[in-house]
Symmetry: C2
Subunit: 207 residues, 2 copies
DNA sequence: GTGTGACGCGAGCATTTACTCGCATACAAT
DNA sequence: ATTGTATGCGAGTAAATGCTCGCGTCACAC
């Protein structure tokens, strides 16, 4: 289900059921157009066409074009963020190295499930559009990892948890995204093994 | 100095000195506009304005808008590629771990020198524009590293040089780019140490 | 049932876009 | 000087864009 839209993004709040369906159709159409035609070709008229509504109706609820596309990305991103958080939380009770492996498995699963969204964000949109929320998510996870490393610092060879977290998060994120998007000739299990090796080796001796 | 433009990109070959200067001004203006106004606002009229020439003059040598911006990126990318190749070649005679460190130092230097170009490619352009040559460069370096790993395989713990190269190249590239662009609160030397640690630890025991 | 406001429509506006074309000028060879 | 051509100009075009506005319609409270 859709995350509640920030009312700031809406021109007026839809009251009747009909109009809420309208907003829904607009966002869905925006998604379709964005995926099918790319960012540059995603015009308001095209979105209206795709949604089988009038151009004017777009502006009943959205202040401008950017708000429509932002709503699409927001909704997508919220779902992604939710999935990722859930998957990671699920694995949190695993101990030590198997936590690492389980997390990577989960991350790859979530990325694979949202591959069209990934491609949209990474390849189609200019970074400035998606950068804000992506950066925020990165930060949240960085903080989490920093905390974890701080607690288990004694069992590792690292000195600065924040630095190590920064590096680990970017590394794993980017490698995984590239792996999913590029589909290189590396089996999934092999790839995970490599990332686990990389992480364990970097963190140093564990029990 | 400018790399020679692929004649395919030009509508006709400029013969007189005057016209060669014209092409130069167009590309320079394109660069300015792209950096100052972003990709979406980079219109032909704006480029013409910035270059203090007529819109019509653009189309004397460039078939369309895309070709102009492509020329800007190409020229930028060529210089970047040249610098990087030179810096890495310079370090190639260093032995073992100090080769790794020296390469990273060189990479960071080159990235820092071309930081505006970096920001342009990573944050402003949609990936599809820059993806082709960036992918090619990645591939070239991947091949190089694969060869190196194959030769020195005995001294490492890796099993598949191609896979390890794929991971190493993406990892180092992305971490470095992010470091330069994001300017996190990590001292340069510390950051390099971390990347070296990562690499050495990943490759396993060395002599 | 009826009135009132929420809703949706779609023609159309003003602006911007990429690009052209006829014409003037600068240049090089004779 | 004359001529042929390479060069540059800039008004202009057709298309597309984001967005508005007046009007008809529909649902819901009473």
């Amino acid at each position: 289900m859709a995350q509640p839209l920030r009312t700031k993004d809406l021109r007026k709040t839809p009251r009747q059921e009909r109009s809420r369906a309208m907003v829904e159709r607009i966002i869905a159409a925006g998604q379709t157009v964005l995926l099918r035609d790319g960012y540059e070709k995603a015009s308001t008229n095209r979105v209206a066409d795709e949604a089988d509504i009038s151009p004017g109706s777009l502006y009943q609820y959205f202040p401008d074009k950017e708000a429509i596309l932002a709503a699409v990305i927001d909704r997508y991103a919220a779902e992604f963020s939710t999935q990722l958080t859930a998957v990671l939380a699920d694995r949190l009770d695993e101990p030590g190295p198997s936590l690492v492996r389980a997390s990577f498995e989960g991350l790859l699963d979530v990325l694979n499930e949202n591959i069209e969204f990934l491609r949209l964000v990474v390849e189609v949109l200019p970074r400035s559009q998606s950068g804000s929320w992506a950066g925020a998510l990165e930060q949240r996870i960085s903080d989490l990892v920093t905390a974890y490393l701080s607690i288990n610092k004694a069992q590792t060879s690292i000195t600065d948890p924040a630095t190590s977290a920064w590096i680990l998060v970017r590394m794993v994120e980017h490698l995984s995204v590239q792996y999913v998007l590029e589909q290189p000739a590396i089996p999934r299990e092999k790839f995970i093994d490599e990332m686990v090796d990389l992480t364990i080796a970097y963190l140093g001796p564990t029990t």
